[in-house]
Amino acid sequence: MSRLDDYRRVAGPGAVDFILRLAEQVQGRRFLHVTGGRLGGATEMVRAAVPILSDLGLDTRWEVTGGDSAYYATARTLQAALEGAERVLSEEGLARWGDMNRLNAKKIDLDADVIHVHDGQPASLVADRTAGRWVWRCSFDCAGAQAGTWSYFRQLVDQYDAAVFALPGFEARLAVPMYVIAPSIDPLSERNRELGPREIGEILGPLGVGRDKPLLVQIGPFTRAHDPLGVVNAYRIVKRHHDVRLVLAGIGDGEPERPELLSQLLEAAHEDPDLVVLELPSEAHRQINALQRAATIVLQKSVRAAFDLWPAEAMWKGKPVVGGYAGGLAQQIIPDVTGHTVHSVEGAAFCIRHLLNNPELIARMGAAGREHVRRSFLITRHLVDELALVVHLTR
C-alpha cells in the first residue's frame, strides 16, 4: 500500500504539497465510498485513493453492496442497459434489486459527510439517505443508455446531490449538477511500477513473447469495440515492410463476442508465428505491465470506448500510442505529440510504419507521453479533483 509521500518521486514538483494544503480544507469530514464489488469498474481508483485519503487524516471508508443471485443478475442487466445494450429488465427483478439494496442500507454504516456511490449496482441506496451529501459516481458512458432504463434510473439519480462523470458527453439528462473528473492511473501499483529488463524478460518468457524484434502490443478485451481483428489487419500491412511481432492480450472473459473473436484470432495466429494471442485475467497486472514496457509501440485501436486507461498506462511507460478516436482515448492521446489517433485500419498501419521508419519519434513521443500523464492522468491529479469536489460540496 502506497503512502502519499511515496508519490513525491513520481508526481510533478509540488503536487503532494498541494494535495496536503487542499486536504486541510476538509479535515474532520468523513467520507464513504460504496461500490458493487471489489473488482472492476471504479474499484481500482477507490482501492488506490482510500488509503491515501486516510493518510491525509481524512476519515475515509469503502463499503461493498451484495445480495443473492437475482440481485446480481438484475444489477448486471441494469448496468448493461445503462451502457446502451439492449436488455429487458423485469419489474420483479428491479423490485428485488431495490429490496436487497434496502437491506444493504441497513447493514452498511452510511453515516458520513459525503457518500460516493459508484455505478449501477448500489445506486438505489440513495432511497434510504439520511444525512450527508450524496454523489452518484458514473465510471462509464451513459449518454447512450436505453431510454426506458434511463427514465427509471434517473428517478434514483435525481435523489442525489450531484453526479460525477469521467468525460463531458458521458452524461445523460439529470436534474442535479454534473461534475467531470477524469480517471487516473496509480504509478506505484503493480500494473505501473518500474520493472527492470531482467524482470520483464522473466515475465514475458513464460508467456511465449520473444523480444528479438520490435513489439506491437494491444491490451484489452476481445470485443468488436476494441477491434482486435482490425489490429491484425493493420499489423499485416506493416509486416510487409517491417519484421515486427504483434501481441494481442485479451483481458476479461464475460463478453459474449469473445469466443468467436478469439477463435478467429487464434486461427490467424496459427498461420503466423509473429502473431501472439494471449488470454490474461484482468488482475494480471504484472504481465500487462511487462508487455507495455516491452512494447515498441502500443496500439489501442478501439472504435467504441469508455475511459479505458490503457493509453495512459502505456504513455507512463514512455511508449507512443496509436489509438482509435473514441471515448477517453482522444482525451489521452495528443495527436503528433504523444502518439496518433486513427479512424481506420489503414490509418493505424500508416502511423505504425511512420513511427518504425522514424525511430527518433518513438523516443520523443514516449517522453512527451510520460510528462503528459504525469500532469493529467496520475492519481495525484485525481486526488486534487476529488478533494476539490468534496470541498465544493461541503462548504
Binding site: 480544507q25 454534473m178 505529440v337 476539490a388 465544493h392
Partner: protein, 223 residues
C-alpha cells in the same frame, strides 16, 4: 538603496477548478452559435480564460476551446483562425466576449446552406467550473521574497493572480501588479506586470517573464 518593506504582505494562493458539464452540446457551427448565446457566462469564461489554466506547452495553442474544436473536430480552418485570434483580455466583460464569438460564428455561416455535423462523441460539450482557492502558506513582504515565492509557487497560483482575478473582477490589473503598486509603491514595475500579455502562451512562460521583470527591478534596487 535599502530594500522596501511592503505595507501589507502578499499571500500566494493556488487554485483548482472543479469542472461541471452543462449537458449542452453543439454538433455543428450553427448549433455552436446558438448555444454560445444561451449558456451561462461562467461557461464562456471556462472555455476562454480557463483555457490558460489547462493549456500545456506540448499541445498546439488554439487560444480557446472553441477554436480547438473547430480545428480538431470540424476541420474548419477558417473558423478556427477567426476564433483563435479572439483575445479574451481585450473585452471589458464576458458578455462582450460572448457577443463577439457569436458574431464570428454567424458571420462565418452567412451564405452557407449547410454546416458539417459531427457525431455526438465529437460534439462541443459546454462546461463551466467552480474555482477552489488553495492557500499555499507562502507570503512575501519584500520584492526579494516576492521573487522567491513566485519562482516556487504552483502554476495555478499564477493563473489565479494574473488571469482569474483580473478577468472575473473586470479589473485592468492582476493581484501581483496591484500589490506592487499599493504595498511596495512600485507603479512602474506594476505597469510592466500589467502590460504582460498572457494570451497564447503558457503559465510557465508568464512566470519566466515576470521573474525577468523582478530581476531587473531587484538589480536596480541594489544599484
Amino acid at each position: 538603496m535599502a530594500p522596501r518593506a511592503a505595507a501589507r504582505p502578499f499571500t500566494f494562493t493556488g487554485c483548482v477548478e472543479l469542472r461541471q458539464t452543462l449537458d449542452v452540446h453543439a454538433l455543428d457551427e450553427r448549433e455552436l452559435g446558438h448555444r454560445l448565446q444561451e449558456v451561462p457566462a461562467e461557461s464562456i469564461f471556462f472555455h476562454t480564460f480557463g483555457y490558460f489554466l489547462r493549456h500545456r506547452p506540448v499541445t498546439t495553442a488554439y487560444g480557446n476551446d472553441f477554436a480547438r474544436w473547430a480545428a480538431l473536430e470540424l476541420g474548419d480552418r477558417a473558423l478556427t483562425e477567426r476564433l483563435a485570434i479572439v483575445d479574451p483580455f481585450a473585452f471589458p466583460a464576458v458578455d462582450a466576449l460572448r457577443e463577439h464569438l457569436v458574431t464570428i460564428v454567424q458571420d462565418h455561416l452567412r451564405g452557407r446552406d449547410e454546416s458539417r455535423r459531427v457525431e455526438f462523441y465529437r460534439a462541443f460539450h459546454f462546461q463551466r467550473s467552480h474555482l477552489i482557492e488553495v492557500p499555499i502558506g507562502l507570503t512575501a513582504t519584500s520584492l526579494a521574497e516576492f521573487r522567491a515565492g513566485l519562482a516556487s509557487v504552483d502554476a495555478s497560483s499564477i493563473y489565479l493572480h494574473v488571469v482569474e482575478t483580473r478577468a472575473r473582477s473586470e479589473r485592468s490589473a492582476g493581484d501581483f501588479a496591484e500589490w506592487l503598486r499599493s504595498s511596495l509603491d512600485l507603479p512602474a514595475l506594476a505597469e510592466r506586470f500589467d502590460r504582460l500579455d498572457p494570451y497564447l502562451t503558457t503559465l510557465e512562460r508568464v512566470r519566466g517573464r515576470l521573474l525577468g521583470l523582478l530581476d531587473e527591478a531587484l538589480e536596480a534596487e541594489r544599484a
